[in-house]
Amino acid sequence: MGGEATDIRTVTYNELLVLQALGTGSEYGLEIMSLTGLSAGTVYPILRRFEATGFVSSRMEDAAVAHRNGRPARRIHALSGDGRAVLQPAREAFLARHRAMGLVPSPGSGTP
């Protein structure tokens, strides 16, 4: 696989948010932006990176469908099998990293 391999152990918070949004079924860049609160300049490059890595697949919407909805065709994104597979480990790796720094509470430690 060409391009930049994203090391799942060092996934950033923003990347995790995008992965999570895709995992909940968000398909469009704008949708992910409004769900995560991230800017366009952050979301789209992350989507490209994940697509190049193979975690995300994308396709242009069917023109006829878009036409019926009275709008131009948009790009639809979805988590690939690889992407689904890494979502949980990535989340855990992220939490573990931040837990080690005391940024998030350990399980069972109660509310800080």
């Binding site: 391009g3 930049e4 469009y28 860049g29 704008l30 697509e51 242009m60 948009r74």
Partner: protein, 889 residues
């Protein structure tokens, strides 16, 4: 709605600008996707600016990930999908390569900065003066009318009010016609009076010019009738400075010469016609207008009727002039009328010199481009191996061409950018050195047209330079393809560089000849004797009238006596018409009067008359050639006396000593009993309109005997510099009368210099441009010779190893340089033939084909060429033959 459309169009434009960053295989989908996303964003709370940034960052990310993305989407990777990144890589490589050649880079950038900077600066002037529209409504319909003398073809500065009134009444091709006369009023300040300069304009002036007030209104028809409440219009500058831009200024009053004027409006900021002024007043017909019908001192402006052309207007004016000459023969002998379009009238005198200088600076730019092209060709020769390697590795013709263009575009952009920056920083300086009175010179700015011009010349230059170099590079590739030897290609490129240097020398010589001709003209002009010595002399103009509006001779004499007491003053006298008066600082109050030598009204001559006091000839430094000057005995009721100048004596009496001659002056109305004056002396001629004006017959009368005007100019001769006398002399006037305004105070040498200011400006600038061109050409020749010596190092080494003498090598190199220079000189002389046709009107006392100028310029260029070639020649003789033969540095 329109706003949303404009924003939509701007966003689409933005996407079009970002799209080239995206690899071609992904580009069309990327644009469709972003068009849809931006469309969808309009219905969401996402800000447009966020989408703008997002599109750019996404385009960059897509470019970086291009191959992987194309692969993931199952798209083919087109071989040229990396065009942009290819260019980007070349830009980076070129920047690195240029960093390794600081000498080449610096010379290239400085040369382009000089060429583009000079061209942009000159275009800034052309734009402000010739291109920017004049501040009038439908300026092409406005004409300026002047009286001419059909007997000798002279064109007057204007027209008389009575003649213009008759023209306006009789004309069918003009809808509105009006006159304007300059006036001076005293505005009382705290402890002294200030002079206010303005224009009194007759009815129809604002309709003719099509100007409306920015605040309030212009004059009502009844306000031109006189005898009513005085009203005034303010200039924008005066409104801002004196009334602090008060929006309620209309209705406020202005106290001038003890009379109250009600402000009725403020004129637009860019309006200053016929010239600068602070206040515009309505001009009611004057009781003496008819008396001065023959005196064409007022400016006239008119608007052409719909459908009328300038030719129609002129034909009608010819008929009206003939009628006026018939009806008023005493004042209108030989009367002609001339209509000129306002644009030509305002810009005609500056258009040719400005366009000439602009042409000159474009030649400098050409020399600069030829120079950097030569440099780049030499560099290309040194990078021959790199090109060969790239070619062998499969770099196509396009890629090699791109390499040449990238280099020239990069360097031209930096150089041109520096040039434009210098122009922008130097705009104030340019504004200062532009000759006074140049229309639009105050508005010199680097605006959109100037920026567009700078962009055009920068990229035009880079295209030309890059194109020529690319031609060389592509030839090389073809030669490599044919297996040609490097020497063939080197010869081709050498020939190209030779042509460039010859062109540079030709252009530089053309400019040098032009500058030489202008310099000689100025020199010849300044050799003219003015007839007086302007050094250490000050001109101070006042307008002194009694409450009854009569010239106040007592006050004028009191001022003279007070000035005479100022320490440092040697002598002081006064005149009504000071030589060199420019109507800008000092008003020219001279007038022309009909006189007869044999008391016959049928043999009258129009001569220039100045009324003076007895001290004036000495104060100005006039030489008395015969008889005497006036004395205090030539009093009001004494014998009417006159002085004449040498030109008068020679023309009308045929000899110099004409003392005792009788002159009969006719009243200005042309009828009535003439006044007879006895000539008591002859004085030297004076060039009253600067160095260029020929001496004209003149008569001087004692002002005390004529009392024609209260507007006089004191000539103050000092033992100290005039600048040091300026304040004390004005203080002496104010000490005598606090309410007296000083209209103008300027050294006579500055006043006379004003008449040659434009010529000096044109000469200095052309000389500067010629110097630049010659310097650049010399650098070009030096570069060519140095390169040639380097290329022929082995040949030189062999010559030296075989016992060749240094002198022979010097002769070889310098000889080649001189041969090229001679070719350039021959072409340059041909070019200067063309230039001399354009320059003809700007020359004075010098032939356009002045052999001395041609010889000096050619000799100078050849000498410089010899010196430029000598440096590399000497270096060639110093090289160790063994080292050069072994190829060691």
């Amino acid at each position: 709605m329109i706003g949303a459309r404009v924003v939509g169009a701007l966003l689409r434009l933005w996407l079009a600008l970002c799209a080239p960053l995206v690899p071609r295989a992904l580009r069309s989908e990327w644009r469709r996707e972003w068009t849809a996303e931006i469309g969808a964003a309009q219905h969401s709370p996402v800000r447009r600016s966020q989408m703008v940034v997002g599109a750019l960052r996404d385009a960059i990310a897509t470019r970086r990930l291009g191959p992987s993305l194309a692969n993931a989407r199952g798209l083919p990777r087109s071989p040229d999908s990396e065009t942009f990144s290819g260019v980007w890589t070349e830009v980076r490589q070129t920047v690195r390569a240029l960093g390794r050649s600081p000498g080449f880079t610096t010379v290239y950038i400085v040369t382009m900065a000089v060429g583009v900077g000079a061209a942009t600066a000159m275009f800034t002037s052309v734009n402000a003066v010739l291109i920017r529209p004049l501040p009038f409504d439908r300026v092409d319909r406005i004409v300026v009318i002047r009286q001419t003398d059909t007997r000798d073809g002279t064109v007057s500065e204007g027209i008389s009010a009575a003649n213009m009134r008759d023209v306006a009444a009789a004309s069918r091709t003009l809808t509105h016609g009006a006159v304007a006369n300059v006036f001076g009023h005293s505005l009382q300040e705290e402890d002294r009076a200030l002079s206010i300069r303005g224009w009194a304009v007759s009815t129809g002036f604002f309709e003719a010019t099509g100007v409306e007030a920015q605040l309030g209104r212009t004059f009502l028809p009844t306000e031109y009738e006189g005898g009513r409440d005085a009203v005034a219009l303010l200039s924008d500058g005066f409104w801002r400075s004196r009334f602090a831009s008060d929006p309620d200024v209309v209705g406020r009053t202005l106290l001038m010469d003890g009379l109250s004027y009600t402000v009725v409006g403020v004129l637009p900021a860019d309006f200053a016609y016929p010239s600068d002024g602070l206040v515009w007043l309505p001009r009611a017909p004057r009781s003496w207008d008819e008396d001065v019908r023959g005196s064409p001192r007022l400016r006239a402006v008119a608007r052409m009727a719909s459908g009328a052309t300038l030719t129609d207007v002129q034909a009608e004016l010819d008929r009206i002039a003939a009628d006026l000459a018939r009806v008023h023969p005493e004042a209108n002998q030989g009367l002609g009328l001339k209509a000129t379009s306002l644009r030509d009238d305002a810009l005609g005198h500056v258009r040719t010199p400005l366009l000439l200088l602009f042409g000159a600076v474009l030649l400098v730019l050409l020399v600069a481009v030829a120079n950097v092209t030569g440099l780049q060709l030499a560099r290309a020769a040194n990078r021959g191996h790199e090109y060969a390697l790239r070619s062998a590795l499969g770099a196509g013709r396009g890629r090699l061409l791109r390499l040449a263009f990238v280099e020239s575009a990069l360097l031209a952009t930096v150089g041109g950018g520096l040039g434009v920056l210098a122009t922008w920083l130097g705009t104030d300086l340019l504004r200062t050195v532009m000759p006074a009175g140049t229309p639009g010179a105050g508005d010199l700015t680097v605006d959109l047209p100037v920026a567009a011009f700078a962009l055009l010349v920068t990229f035009g230059s880079s295209l030309v330079a890059g194109g020529i170099v690319a031609l060389g590079v592509s030839r090389r590739r073809a030669d490599i393809g044919r297996g040609a030897r490097g020497s063939t290609e080197a010869r081709n490129r050498r020939t190209l560089r030779d042509h460039l240097v010859v062109t540079e020398i030709a252009l530089a010589l053309t400019l040098a000849v032009g500058a030489g001709l202008l310099l000689r003209s100025l020199d010849t002009l300044l050799d003219n004797q003015l007839g007086f010595d302007p050094e250490r002399r000050l001109a101070v103009q006042v307008f002194a009238y009694t409450a009854q509006d009569r010239p106040d001779m007592e006050r004028i004499r009191a001022f003279r006596d007070a000035i005479a007491e100022v320490p440092g003053v040697r002598s002081v006298g006064f005149t009504t018409a000071i030589p060199g008066a420019d109507d800008r600082v000092v008003e020219a109050m001279d007038h022309v009067i009909s006189l007869s030598l044999d008391a016959s009204p049928n043999t009258r001559h129009d001569v220039r008359v100045s009324d003076i006091d007895e001290e004036y000839p000495a104060a100005l430094g006039l030489n008395v050639l015969a008889g005497r000057t006036f004395t205090s005995l030539d009093e009001k009721d004494g014998t009417a006396v006159a002085l004449v100048n040498e030109a008068f004596a020679r023309r009308y009496f045929g000899e110099t000593d004409v003392t005792g001659g009788r002159l009969s002056f006719y009243p200005r109305s042309g009828s009535g009993t003439p006044q007879t004056l006895t000539v008591v002396g002859v004085v030297s001629d004076v060039r009253v309109r600067g160095f260029e004006s020929p001496p004209v017959p003149e008569v001087y009368r004692p002002l005390i005997q004529t009392v024609t005007t209260g507007g006089v100019t004191f000539v103050v001769e000092g033992s100290i510099p005039p600048g040091d006398l300026l304040l004390p002399v004005q203080e002496a006037i104010w000490a005598t009368d606090r309410s007296q305004a000083v209209w103008a105070a300027q050294s006579l040498s500055d006043l006379m210099a004003g008449w040659t200011q434009r010529r000096r400006f044109d000469t200095a600038l052309l000389t500067f441009f010629a110097g630049l061109a010659v310097g650049l050409a010399a650098i070009g020749l030096y570069g060519l010779m140095a390169f040639s010596v380097e290329q022929r190092a082995q040949e030189m080494g062999i010559r030296r190893a075989l016992g060749g003498q240094s002198a022979g090598i010097v002769r070889l190199v310098v000889g080649r340089g001189i041969r090229l220079a001679v070719l350039g000189v021959v072409m340059g002389l041909a070019g200067s033939l063309v230039l001399s046709r354009v320059l003809g009107g700007m020359l004075y006392g010098v032939s356009p084909l002045d052999p001395a100028t041609l010889a000096t310029a050619s000799g100078g260029v050849l000498l410089l060429a010899g010196l430029a070639a000598y440096g590399p020649a000497r270096r060639a003789t110093r090289a160790d033959p063994m080292q050069t033969l072994s190829g060691r540095p």
